[in-house]
Structures are given as C-alpha cells and as structure tokens.
C-alpha cells in the first residue's frame, strides 16, 4: 500500500484528502442483447438492431441470454469476487423515450457478483488494493438524438437492451491518478477475460465517478456523482476539477450538496445536473417476468477452468521466470497482446534483452507512429530474428537499432535489411586495424594527450573509429585493438 498522506491536496486552510469511488459500466462482449436475440454490433443504421422485446411491444417477454450470465461470472472470477449463485433481476422504473418499457431491467438487492478486489499499479511502482463492492447485470437504454430536428428528438434503440456490467468500487481511491490507474487496470482485466472490449470511444466502457473531500482522518463527507465519464484522461480531469471545487466550497464556509453532476470535456469542468431532492424514485421491484437467476457451482467451476492468466499473475511470473523488474513487467502485461508478443520474442533468448527491445524500442516506435501492436510492421518472429543477429555478432546494439528502424519502416525482415543496406558488422581485423591506424595518424595531438595521462580520451577514440567505419565495426573487436595500438 502506498502512503495516502503523499496524495493530500493543499488548500488555503490546510490539507485535504480526496475520496473516490467508481461505478463502471462495461458492455458485455456478446453477439446478442441481455434479454433478446438482437445484435449488439456497433455502428449499424439507427433502429436496425431492435427486436420486439427491445422495443417493448405489448406482451413481449425478456428471456435471459445465458452467455451474458457466463460473461458476468467470468468477470466476477477475474475480480476475485464472490459469485452469487442466486441473484434477482429488478425493474428500475422511469419514463424516458429511449427506455421503451418504461423500466430498465437491472439487479438491485441481489447482484450476480459480490465483493472482490483489484490491485492497482501506481506510476511510482507501488500498488493499491481497491475493493469491489459488487457487479450486477443490467440493460442499456437506447440513444436519444436531440440535434436532428428543431423541435423533436429522435430515438435509436440499437443499444436498448444491450448487456452491461455495472462494477462498483469501494471509495478506496485517493487521487485522480489512482482513479485513472484503477480504470486502466479494470479495463485490462476485462480485456484479458474477453468480457468487455474496453472501447471507451464507442462507449463500451464508461464511468460514474463519486468524489468527496475530507480532512485527513475525518469521516467521509458528502459526495457528488459525476456521470458518464468516458475516458481515462477525463476521469482524471473530472476528479481534479471536482475535488478542487469541493475544497473551495468548504474553505469558503459552504457545504457540499449531494448531487449528480456532468463532466464537460470541452471545458474540463463539472456542472450540476440534479440534486438529491430532484432524484427519481425508481420504484425498484423484482421483475415478475423473470425467475430468480440460479446456477450451480459446477457452472462456476466450468468457467473458472477456462480463465486466462490475468495481469497480476502474469506480472509475477514475468518477474520470477524472466527476472524482469516489477515496473517493466507491469508495462508488458498491461495488455494481453504485448505480453504474448513479449513471451514469443523472449522464448529461447535473453529475456531481459527481449523485454528492453519490446518495451523501449518497439513500444517507442509504435507510439511515435500512432499504431497499436496489432498494426506493428515488425512481428514477434521478426524481432526475435533481429535479437539473434545481435547474439551471433552480426549486429551491434547500435546497428541493430538502425536495422530495427528500417524493419519498422519497410516491414522487411532483419536479414533482408542487413543484406540490402550492407549494415553487417565489420569483424575483419585488417579493416578495423586500418581504420584505427588512420585515426591515430590523423589525431597526433590527441594521441599525445592520451599518452600524457588522459585515459578518458579512450572513449573519444572509440567513437572516431566507429564513425570512420560507418558504425559497422564490431565494438568488441575495436576495443582491444585500439587499446593495444594507443598504449603500444
């Protein structure tokens, strides 16, 4: 656990502690909706993926999509949470045009998943354990479009009925960075599990952020809920803005009203949406169209048996199996694909060297090019081939970087680039000696200086020789030969 005192915010009247809890809505990865067979594919023409159940036609009844249940259980297991073998679907009643039935089917008192935990990796290398209060399944609503007509709103029901997991954290987070790191970690876990694509731009993952501030050690203060924040950066901005706002209100002698606020990403500020008094009375009650959801332990066990290795376990294994540092391992396991990429590069090779190449060179190039791993021009096998050329002395580290840059640029293999560009390392003693002789002859003054008691100039001579050979000279050979000639 990191020391929370390090996260305190200085106000005009002293220090404040921010307390944050997140309710994350994660769209279940599933072909069909939670209670109907309609497709969940993103980006289809409006109202083209709507069943009679989704549109709440008279007499239509919901039928649970078993795969969504499986996905929720899988997620619960990934969050090391208690799986409730009996859960209940409730109706949350309110009127809105994008809510066709006039109620949302959700889980209120008896969620499918109970308490769990997520270990969050913080940038300073420490970790924080964040409690998960619950995970429940619910339907998404449709989408209201208010900008299509001067007087009317349009409704697109494609999203209506799509399965969501609402994952509620305990108020265990203490800074904007921690909140963003938690969301990042949760997203990674869901993506590892294959239960949510984590695509925040498409709305597959969005967060309601609960923020309050207090004097260190004081009891919890009134919180505000910031609705529907849809990126890591926005979560961080929203928390930063909201905590400063609350501190200012309190320091000016005011009180915080419990309210729902929205985050305006263009202005980077939160604004009041509705107060507690204006809040809906949702009139929750168990949905009589659905029997309580019950399954046996064997169902849970079957799912548990198919669970992939998750980021935390993978990180621990990378540290113990490959001798990597915790930070580097953390970077590599943040997503499933890079971790797999790394492991295939490291197989049968120097794992630390492989880690360095993947996390520094490859990620650096990808970052610069604005590409993700799936679009990488250099495959894991290609990078492995490059590392093999370093190992057998064909390439120096420095040359290898040049070769890698060309591989990245052209998509060609390491050997092909080396052959084409003549970048092969020079290991011919005669050629190296000739270059050394020329450098010594051309720099008599420096040689005198060196011999006169300035051995630090050796590095300068090394550089000159490498330069003279176009970087191709094998540094392992240059070093002793140069030393012999200079000292000779």
């Amino acid at each position: 656990m990191s020391d929370p005192s390090a996260k305190l915010i200085k106000g005009n009247t002293g220090e404040w502690e921010v307390v944050i809890g997140l309710e994350v809505h994660a769209q279940v990865l599933s072909q069909a909706k939670l209670f109907s067979g309609a497709s969940t594919a993103f980006g289809a023409a409006p109202n083209s993926q709507v069943s009679l159940v989704d549109a709440a036609f008279p007499g239509m009844l919901p039928v649970i999509n078993a795969f969504c249940i499986e996905q929720a259980v899988r997620t619960g297991l990934g969050l090391k949470a208690k799986i409730n073998r009996r859960s209940v679907f409730d109706r949350k009643n309110y009127f809105y045009p994008d809510l066709p039935a006039g109620y949302q089917i959700s889980q209120y008192k008896h969620p499918i998943v109970g308490e769990g935990k997520v270990t969050v990796d913080l940038p300073d290398g420490t970790t924080r354990r964040v409690g998960i209060e619950r995970l429940h399944l619910e339907q998404d609503a449709g989408k209201s479009l208010h900008d299509q007509h001067p007087k009317q709103s349009y409704v697109d029901l494609n999203r209506a009925g799509v399965a969501l997991m609402e994952i509620v954290s305990r108020p265990d987070l203490r800074s904007a960075e921690e909140a963003a790191a938690y969301l990042r970690k949760l997203r990674a876990i869901l993506r590892y599990l294959g239960t949510c694509d984590g695509n925040m731009e498409e709305g597959s993952m969005r967060a309601d952020v609960n923020v309050s501030v207090r004097r260190p050690g004081a009891p919890l203060n009134t919180r505000c809920e910031i609705k529907n924040v849809n990126s890591m950066r926005f979560v961080q901005q929203a928390v930063e803005y909201e905590s400063r706002r609350q501190i200012q209100v309190l320091e000016d002698g005011g009180t915080i009203r419990q309210e729902t606020r929205l985050f305006d990403s263009s202005k980077g500020e939160t604004r009041s949406m509705r107060s507690k008094e204006e809040a809906h009375d949702y009139r929750y009650f168990p949905d009589p169209d659905l029997l309580p959801l019950e399954f046996d332990q064997a169902f849970v066990d079957r799912i548990a048996a198919t669970l992939p290795e998750l980021p935390d376990e993978k990180k621990a294994r990378f540290v113990s199996q490959y001798g990597l540092g915790a930070y580097e391992a953390g970077v590599l396991v943040a997503e499933r694909e890079p971790a797999e990429y790394y492991e295939s590069v490291a197989k049968g090779r120097d794992p630390k060297l492989a880690a360095n190449w993947v996390s520094v060179e490859l990620f650096g190039q990808l970052n610069k090019a604005g590409k993700d791993l799936a679009q990488s021009p250099v495959s894991a096998a290609g990078l492995g081939e490059l590392l093999d050329l370093i190992k057998d002395g064909t390439l120096s580290q420095r040359l290898a970087k040049d070769v890698f840059a060309l591989m990245f640029e052209t998509g060609k293999g390491a050997a092909a680039v080396v052959a084409e560009k003549g970048l092969k390392q020079v290991s011919d003693t005669g050629a190296i000696e000739a270059a050394i002789d020329k450098v010594i002859a051309d720099n008599a003054a420096k040689v005198a200086e060196y011999r006169g008691g300035k051995p630090t100039l050796f590095g300068w001579f090394m550089g000159q020789v490498m330069k003279a050979t176009g970087g191709k000279a094998n540094p392992g050979m240059v070093n002793p030969l140069l030393k012999k000639k200079l000292d000779g």
Partner: protein
C-alpha cells in the same frame, strides 16, 4: 337438430370428421349468430373473412382425412392476446388501432391445431375489472336475464366477452386470461365452464400484460370435456416465456371421465364469508353432496390467511400493472396525443388513452412501490402472499382438491357496482387466492339462483393437477346438468 353454433366442441368435431357438417357451415352459423348478437357487444373485432378462409382450409384438411385436434372449430379470442395482422386492443383506447406483427403463443397453438378465428372478444380494459364495464368499447351484456326482469346484467370480467360469446353460442369455445378471477368469475356468471390453469402452464408470450406474476391464460367452453380439449391444445412450455413450466401436458380430455372415487375434497372454513347469500352456501353444500355421491369424501381444511388475499392482491396486481403499462407512452406505437413538451405529451397521451379504472390502478401501483411505502405495502404483500401459498400447501396435505363457490353472487345489473370499486373488488374474494398461490382453478356451472341466474362452483387443485379438476368438474356437471341460455332475447333486440 341443434343449430351448428350451439353444438359442443366435441360434438362439432365429430360431425366435421363425419362430414355431416362442414367447417364453412359451422363458421357461417357462428358468424350469423355474432351478427345477430350486436346487443351483447361481446366482440371488439369480428374477422369474418379470416374465419371463412380458415374454415376453407379446415375443410380441405378434413376432406383429406388430415384433421387436427381443433380442425374447423371456430373460437373467440380475448382481445388481450396479440394476433398477427388482427387488431389487438386490450379494450383500451391507447391500443385502439394496434395491429401486432406477431402472434401470441397460445393462439399460435390453437391455429396450429386447426382452429378458426371468429374475432377478438371484448374485455375490461387491460383486463382490469370484474364486470366488463371498463372496456373502452362499451360494456359486454350477459346473455342471461333475471326471471321477469329485462334489465341488462353484466357477464363478469375481465373475460366478459369470451364468457358471453360462449354462453350465447356465438362460438364453440374461447380463450381468456385470469389474473384474479377473470376467467372463473365470468364463467360462473354466464353458466359456462372456465379454467385458469396453474401459473406457468400456458405461455404468457404475446398476451398484453396486466400483472405478470398473476396473469395466466385459460379457456371457456360449454362443458367440461370441451374445456379439457381446449386447454390441452393451448398449454405447454414456451422458451419465450421464462416463467412457463418445463412440464409435459397430460391429455386432459382423457382425464375427464376418470372419476373422483377416493378423493378427499377440502372444504375451507374461511370461505364461509359473512353476508354470503344462503343460496350460494346451499349450492356449495349440494356440490359436496354430488362429489360424495361420486365416491369422494369431504374433509374440513383451513386456509387461515384467506381474509388477507384480497388486500394482498390489490397491492401486488396494481404494482405490477403500474410498471407493465409504462410502455404505453405514445412514443413507439398506439395512441399519441402530440405535444412539444415531452412530459406534457406523456400526460396527455396517457390521460386520453387510459380509462378511469386503469388510471386508478396505475396510481395505486405507483404509490405502493414508492420509496417510503414499499416496505409497508409491496414487501408486506409479498410476505402475505407467501403465507397464502403455504396455507394451500398445508391444506393439500389433507385433501386432493378444494371445493368453494366461484363468486359471492350471481350476475348483477350493469351500473350496480360501477361506482363502488370495493364492492366490485369483493367479487374476486374466492378466486384471488388461487392466483396468489399460482394454483389451477376450474369453475363449473352448478345451479341457478332464485332469480334463475347461473351460479358456479370452483375447484382448486395442486400445482399442475388440472386433470383432477376436470375429473371432479365432470362429476358435478354430470349431476347438475348443463345451463344453456333458453331465451335468445338479444336476437330480437333492435
């Protein structure tokens, strides 16, 4: 010879197979009877073209010897069942022009068995009522009249159109739904047989929902054997209804003549309610005597929470209804009274679309689910409901069936209780417990009141034991006889 439309379903099926009657003739006879029964207002929609087309197809199959169980049998369908391409209104203005692009499971099964659709039967709006006076399309009139009294009587509700149509010989059978007695009470008031099977026996898919945990489809017929045939053809598991039971459907028709020898018939002492007319008490005793005569024995049983059933029902049913009816918002289908302001549009649409009784129940339901009232009303009602269900479990340890009156009175005059919602609700006092407990209930005509109006007796059974209900109902029917309407006064009405 009996007019074709007055035959029992079994007789008609036999005649159709013998080719002594064609499906077309039978359907025509029913359509003619319907045409002459405008005064009863039993139908919201009549579908003569569809009916004759169905009949023609039936005749073709009959000719080839490929008749199915209900081949060529003309039926009335309560207008709460969605029928593809045929207006399905729930007797509400809000669905007044609604034509569903889908078919309810129950009706789909009937058509698959060869039945013919005559039309959609009138009902209380959204099945909320016990007299059929809340229909947006006007009240249904009971074919029965008091002796020497021409005042119009109610047929009971909510399935009043179905009951009246069967009693008046406008069809050979009909579907109904029963949320608190909506099949059994009108059956009792019209001298017809009505069964509400066990909750989960028939699919609710495609039936406009009133109170989902109580709603159950069932049938009306002119005798017990017909009811058994119809229920057999409508029951069965449906993957589209999560509350539908995964159980095989016995051949109810074969169970009708099984007798009641050795069966223990429970007489619940709590059903002797204060103010119950003597003639109903006498009929109840008579029913028990008949069953004893058939070889059953009487046992006294206790259902201690009976008095709480009605208040419990009038919390749970409106609560579910308030939520079920939220979808009628004028946004996607049905009536819309347009306004530039969303909330105003909701208010105008629902005020214009729903009748008084529906609005009353939506308000009650919204109230009992509200924060601060939920525990005191809805949650408590659910607890009492569990106690009521347990009463029956205990009672059925001592008996195999329960015998009780169906309703506390015979048919009453129109308007008599229209401004007395509590008095109206009391009509369901004997029927509501079976819905709360999910049990099957059969109402069978057993006698006439002093005013010569039909009275029914009700049999309640263990879950999914409809077969025994039919067998016992048949023994009562064998001794009580049938109660056809003798005066077809409405055919002379202007």
């Amino acid at each position: 010879m009996t007019a074709a439309n007055l035959l029992t379903l079994a007789q008609a099926a036999k005649a159709l197979r013998a080719r002594s009657l064609s499906a077309r003739e039978l359907t025509r006879a029913c359509l003619d009877a319907i045409a002459k029964a405008g005064a009863l207002n039993a139908f919201v929609t009549v579908t003569p073209e569809r009916a004759l087309a169905d009949a023609e197809r039936a005749d073709a199959r009959l000719a080839k010897g490929e008749a199915r169980a209900l081949e060529g049998i003309p039926l009335a369908i309560k207008d709460l069942f969605c029928t593809q391409g045929v207006k399905s209104t729930a007797a509400s203005r809000i669905l007044g022009e609604f034509v569903p692009p889908y078919e309810s499971t129950v009706t789909e099964k009937l058509w698959a068995a060869g039945a013919t659709l005559l039309g959609k039967a009138n009902l209380d709006e959204f099945a909320m009522g016990s007299s059929n006076e809340t229909s947006a399309f006007g009240p249904v009139v009971n074919p029965w009249r008091r002796q020497g009294d021409n005042r119009k009587l109610v047929p009971g509700g909510s399935s009043g159109g179905s009951a009246a149509a069967v009693a008046a010989g406008l069809c050979l059978g009909a579907t109904g739904t029963d949320t608190g007695g909506s099949i059994r009470q009108p059956a009792s008031l019209t001298g017809t047989v009505g069964i509400k099977p066990t909750y989960g026996r028939c699919s609710r898919y495609g039936i406009v929902a009133f109170a989902s945990s109580l709603d159950q489809a069932g049938v009306f017929a002119r005798d017990v054997a017909d009811a058994a045939i119809l229920l057999r053809e409508t029951a069965g598991h449906d993957a589209r209804d999560s509350t539908s039971a995964k159980l095989p459907v016995p051949d109810f028709a074969a169970a009708v003549e099984a007798g009641v020898k050795g069966l223990r018939i429970g007489i619940p002492k709590e059903y002797r309610v204060e103010g119950m007319p003597a003639e109903i008490e006498a009929l109840w005793r008579q029913g028990m005597a008949w069953l004893k005569d058939a070889g059953a024995q009487a046992v006294d049983v206790s259902l201690p929470h009976t008095a709480m059933a009605l208040p419990t029902y009038y919390i749970i049913a409106p609560a579910e209804a308030s939520s079920n009816l939220a979808r009628y918002d004028g946004v996607r289908y049905g009536l819309r009274v347009a306004d530039d302001d969303l909330v105003t549009q909701y208010e105008k649409t629902r005020a214009a679309g729903f009748g008084k009784e529906v609005r009353r129940r939506v308000l009650i339901g919204t109230y009992v689910l509200s924060a601060g009232y939920y525990d005191a009303y809805y949650l408590k009602a659910q607890k009492v409901r569990a106690l009521i269900a347990r009463d029956f479990v205990d009672a059925f340890k001592a008996c195999d069936l329960i015998l009780a009156p169906t309703a506390p009175n015979a048919a009453f005059a129109m308007g008599e209780k229209a401004d007395d919602p509590i008095g109206m609700y009391l009509n369901d006092v004997f029927t509501v417990p079976a819905n709360l407990a999910g049990l099957p209930g059969l109402s069978v005509p057993a006698g006439l009141s002093a005013e010569a109006l039909p009275l029914g007796l009700q049999l309640l059974g263990r879950p999914f034991d409809e077969a025994t209900l039919f067998a016992a109902g048949r023994e009562i029917e064998r001794r009580a006889g049938l109660f056809p309407v003798s005066d077809r006064w409405w055919e002379a009405a202007p």
